[in-house]
Symmetry: C2
Subunit: 269 residues, 2 copies
């Protein structure tokens, strides 16, 4: 067993580079830290490129099954505990991290695959972004579009906050508003475009949702970009009963997404 | 104008003590930092005990109205900018902070005043707690019970995350489960006790909610305490359509709270 101990090792240098968002995007990969996330990625069918682990992780009987599965997927690279901790962004990476391929759904493929899409316009808080993705998966959404100006979805804090949800939904990010609007006209012809808008006339529970849709949620401080708002076929608002001016973006997305799911379940009964 | 510059000044020493949760509770007060929160507290009818501000804040024409209102409420105490920054917990306290009385609703008063109560069992993340309170207010809830083991609601991060909502809802905290169960039997006779429970038979949108209710939301990792669960007259669950085991506690609370509001609005139409 060859155990890397130096940060000057080429594999470690490469891994370190991937901790910068720009380099991850160039390589089309992201990083998973810790056993739970890696198990979730395996279950979700992610493509593993490299797995970095400590000798102690390798030796633990509790990890035997996971490692047998990972061996079929990627090279196992051993490194010293100290080096892993230096490299990882979580305080306790639990002895293992992996480099995984970004799943890429381009253009028509994405809109064919994803019936219920959540579009996020400049959502900046990583915890919020992660919670939104987790909730979207839970509510049966199958696509996420994060427009330029949103936090990188493959940021460690976002990934952790999705609680494994990131492996169960098609993701597109760094799309400009213009690129999205072109796609909308050319490729998303069957999707109803919905905007959550505090000025809307219709409450979110009054609208009858179509089975294919794109729900747009805006930046918390500024709401949706006006240009996106004008394109929306349907605008809906969540009633505010108390002395509060707005909802957290993750809360707004959740309330509407689960209303859509509730309507579908009521219909199917 | 007497401007305090020393942290050894008695008023500053007292203020510093209040940054510890235990001391705040003993005095029955909490601290607000920054202009926006203080304006929200004024609008919400909070009782001010002291206001600490910098000479620059006093001199700014933009603050004239606020200061005229505050003068009627409490002593204005001037301190140097440097001292304010040392004392406050936010990086930029914007020249002003205030000590405000905790609103106390005890026993029967609380249950008379609050028709729709959200009970939080060991919610620990301050951001989550703040978002839950903000959402509860938005959905028309009028009472919060945070059981022992939950984060202190008068923690600065919680207060800020409520976005002013904290002044529009009756709050009880640090109640033990036993104390709550006694009150429930003796004082909350008209309230329907509801539990969000992943094992429930009934979906949250199938249940017909009563106008007086207590909705119990559990700790994210462990859910509701089993003893609370057995007391619930009604158990409801949010459907999970995707490969996700649970929802964020703030999301779960939001989805149910807005379903309750939606039902009420549909009935009143």
């Amino acid at each position: 067993m060859n155990i890397i101990s130096s940060s000057q090792n080429d594999k470690i240098k490469y891994l370190n580079k991937l901790y910068r968002s720009r380099n991850r995007r160039k390589e089309g990969v992201f990083i998973l830290e810790g056993k739970r996330l890696i198990e979730a990625a395996l279950a979700g069918g992610a493509d593993f490129k490299q797995v970095f682990l400590t000798p102690a992780f390798f030796k633990s009987a509790a990890n035997e099954k996971l490692l047998a599965a990972l061996k079929l997927e990627a090279d196992l690279i051993y490194l010293e505990e100290k080096l892993l901790k230096e490299t990882a962004s979580t305080v306790n990476p639990q002895g293992i991290l992996a480099v995984v391929e970004e799943s890429v759904f381009k253009g028509q493929d994405f809109y064919n695959k994803a019936d219920k899409i959540l579009l996020l316009d400049r959502i900046q808080d990583p915890g919020n972004m992660g919670t939104i993705i987790r909730t979207a998966v839970a509510a049966g959404f199958d696509g996420i579009i994060a427009l330029k100006g949103s936090v990188d979805i493959y940021n460690q804090k976002v990934i952790r906050s999705t609680m494994g949800g990131i492996f169960s939904i098609a993701i597109r990010q760094k799309l400009s508003q213009q690129e999205f609007l072109v796609e909308l006209k050319e490729k998303a012809l069957d999707h109803e475009l919905l905007a959550a808008d505090i000025e809307a006339e219709e409450y979110h529970f009054e609208h009858q949702y179509q089975s294919k849709l794109i729900l747009m949620i805006g930046n918390e401080a500024n709401g949706l970009d006006p240009q996106l708002l004008t394109k929306a076929k349907t605008k809906i608002k969540i009633p505010l009963a108390g002395e509060i001016e707005s909802l957290n973006a993750a809360v707004a997305a959740s309330v509407i997404a689960f209303e859509i799911l509730a309507q579908a379940l009521k219909k199917s009964n």
